[in-house]
């Protein structure tokens, strides 16, 4: 077998690998959308879930997913921005910076179930909140923080040096330059990164299993008082999210139409994550065109 034949075989094998991966993805997406889209209708999306009868929907779980995402982002974005600004502007090469970088790496590589267990220890038991939206959101903040810090740091570093130097040359202080020049310039990249991170958070289940819980109390969507126990806005109540619901429905196996509910919920989950990704890309493109006057 001479080298030319070996080369052709190798090319074929690698192309086959690439084709296999494409087929796997197409099969996965096709399967979920095919089975799940049939389940999605307004009734499914808004009616409460049932624990043991057929015909339950995913209404509260869908709301819980979005609400926990919102609260997580409220915590993550300022902290990530602060950390990113520190790493990009204030960190001097030295031991403390190395420790911070190592910590970011460690946090990023920890399995999400380990973070969920930490959340159980600290945010559920130690603070006495029990399973609650707040515990889940704080756990997800820790989960999301490394990504957010990296995104913000890269975004601020990618602002051209001339902008920062111009600001300093005009007599602005360092912090003022950061606040008024660097952060607004980096804003599109940060926004894109935040939306992509939201997609990741939306599908996260292992970290929420023991922090936000597996149940949702009966919610009265007309009640907007965040302090009352059956208001959906109360952050101290347990909240089962969509991803956790898919797992619970398949593991506990009590409802007879578990397959259908999980199909529909998976389809909603995937479509939401896809929409987050597409929205992030589109928004980034639009803002970039506006800011750089490209046609």
């Amino acid at each position: 077998m001479n080298s030319r034949i070996a080369d052709r075989i190798a090319t074929g094998v690698f192309s086959a690998f690439a084709a296999i991966i494409t087929l796997v993805l197409a099969g996965l997406l096709g399967y979920i959308l095919f089975h799940g889209l049939a389940q999605i209708n307004l009734d499914f999306l808004t009616s409460p879930s049932s624990s043991y009868k057929a015909g339950g929907g995913i209404g509260p779980q869908l709301f819980n997913s979005f609400y926990i995402l919102l609260i997580t982002m409220i915590f993550t974005v300022p902290l990530g921005l602060g950390g990113g600004i520190y790493m990009a502007e204030y960190a001097k090469p030295g031991k403390i910076t190395n420790i911070i970088r190592t910590s970011i790496e460690v946090l990023a590589s920890l399995p999400s179930i380990v973070l969920g267990l930490f959340g159980l220890l600290v945010f559920v038991n130690l603070t006495g909140w029990g399973y609650s939206i707040l515990s889940g959101a704080l756990t997800l903040t820790i989960f999301n923080l490394p990504v957010m810090v990296r995104v913000c740091e890269d975004a601020i570093r990618s602002v051209p040096r001339e902008q920062k130097e111009a600001g300093l040359a005009l007599g602005l202080t360092h912090w003022h330059t950061i606040k008024t020049i660097l952060v607004p310039s980096a804003f599109p990249t940060i926004l894109t990164g935040a939306i992509l991170a939201s997609g990741r958070v939306f599908g996260e289940a292992a970290a929420l299993l023991f922090t936000a819980g597996l149940t949702t109390p009966r919610l009265d969507f007309a009640n907007w008082n965040p302090f009352s126990p059956d208001s959906p806005l109360n952050i101290f109540r347990p909240a089962e999210t969509l991803a956790v619901h898919i797992w619970a429905v398949n593991s506990e196996g009590l409802i007879p139409d578990a397959r259908e509910v999980a199909d529909g919920a998976s389809a909603v989950l995937i479509i939401s994550v896809l929409l987050f990704n597409l929205f992030a890309r589109w928004l980034g493109g639009v803002i970039h065109k506006r800011l750089t006057a490209t046609k």
Binding site: A10, F14, Y86, Y90, I100, S103, S109, H176
Partner: protein, 307 residues
């Protein structure tokens, strides 16, 4: 004098509290929070995980090497026993096996993207890989449960649940990680390597196998180890397809369990503070220590990268 004073008051803004210090302080606080979070995770999980050895008096050697897991066995039948070997074995087995599939596929896809179709490969495949990453892990588990397990049951036999199902699901999940880091590594190899190789008459495959892969080896190993670290920590997707048995499986089609799956299953059933609960925290501590070991291995491999 009076008009000068009021002019000065009008024109010069009063600094209430030095905003420079305030901004710097806020930012330093955020950075410190990251260190505090990492330290807190280690301390809290470590302290809680060691409770089963110090408070309940379990023997750590027996915990790590015995595969006899019966935490609820009655005293009459010999009392409860806590041997975690089956789960440690399950975790390692499913991680190594899934890396066996994901490594060739991922590195092969990376080679395809950078060498065989460099003009359009990345444009088509990077979005595909991003889509695979974006699918949540519970959905992988659910598809494994509803499609893969019946398929394996019909073709390979056994219950369908087991190491084989876990291995296939996990390899698809870690494939994007391996492929994207391998692509980065291969791309960062200097073009001069390829040029020199073709200048002496090597075919493309000879260049890839004898020049590029050896040069990129630390980076490729990093990619595989990162994938393995992800596979080791995966909980829900594996739990849905692996069958959750208590013993070491003897074949690929027998139900098994991993550290993550046993924690997921039993944490909700046990009461906080009881010995059954404490051993689960010890399992979590093993998980944390293994994650740290993976991080050290990855740092060591990354430091050896020449390109």
């Amino acid at each position: 004098m009076n008009s000068q004073q009021s002019v000065r008051d009008r024109l010069i803004k009063k600094q209430k509290f030095n905003p420079e210090l305030k901004g710097k302080g806020l930012v330093i606080l955020s950075a410190l929070l990251i260190i505090i979070a990492t330290g807190a995770i280690t301390i809290f999980l470590g302290q809680k995980g060691l409770q089963s050895f110090f408070i309940n008096g379990l023997n750590p050697i027996e915990f790590l090497t015995s595969s006899d897991w019966h935490p609820l066995r009655a005293e009459a039948k010999g009392g409860p026993s806590y041997g975690a070997l089956a789960f440690i074995f399950g975790s390692f087995a499913v991680t190594l096996l899934s890396a066996l599939i994901a490594a060739p596929l991922g590195i092969g896809a990376a080679i395809f993207m950078t060498e065989i179709a460099p003009s359009w490969g990345k444009k088509v495949f990077l979005p595909i890989i991003e889509l695979l990453v974006g699918i949540p892990s519970v959905v992988y588990g659910f598809i494994g449960l509803s499609v893969l397990v019946p398929f394996l049951r019909d073709t390979v036999g056994g219950l369908g649940f087991g190491l084989l199902a876990g291995m296939i699901v996990l390899s698809i999940m870690i494939l994007p990680t391996v492929a994207s880091i391998a692509t980065d590594t291969l791309q960062s190899l200097p073009q001069s390597l390829r040029d020199a190789s073709s200048a002496i008459g090597a075919t493309r495959w000879q260049t890839i196998s004898r020049v590029l892969i050896p040069a990129a080896l630390p980076g490729l190993l990093t990619a595989v180890v990162l994938g393995m670290a992800r596979a080791f920590g995966e909980a829900l997707a594996v739990q849905m397809v692996i069958g959750n048995a208590r013993s070491i499986p003897t074949s690929l089609t027998e139900p098994a369990a991993t550290l993550t799956t046993i924690i997921t299953l039993n944490m909700g059933h046990t009461t906080f503070g009881s010995i059954e609960n404490n051993v689960l925290w010890s399992l979590a501590l093993i998980l944390l220590i293994m994650s740290f070991i993976f991080i050290v291995i990855i740092r060591y491999l990354s430091a050896r990268r020449k390109y």
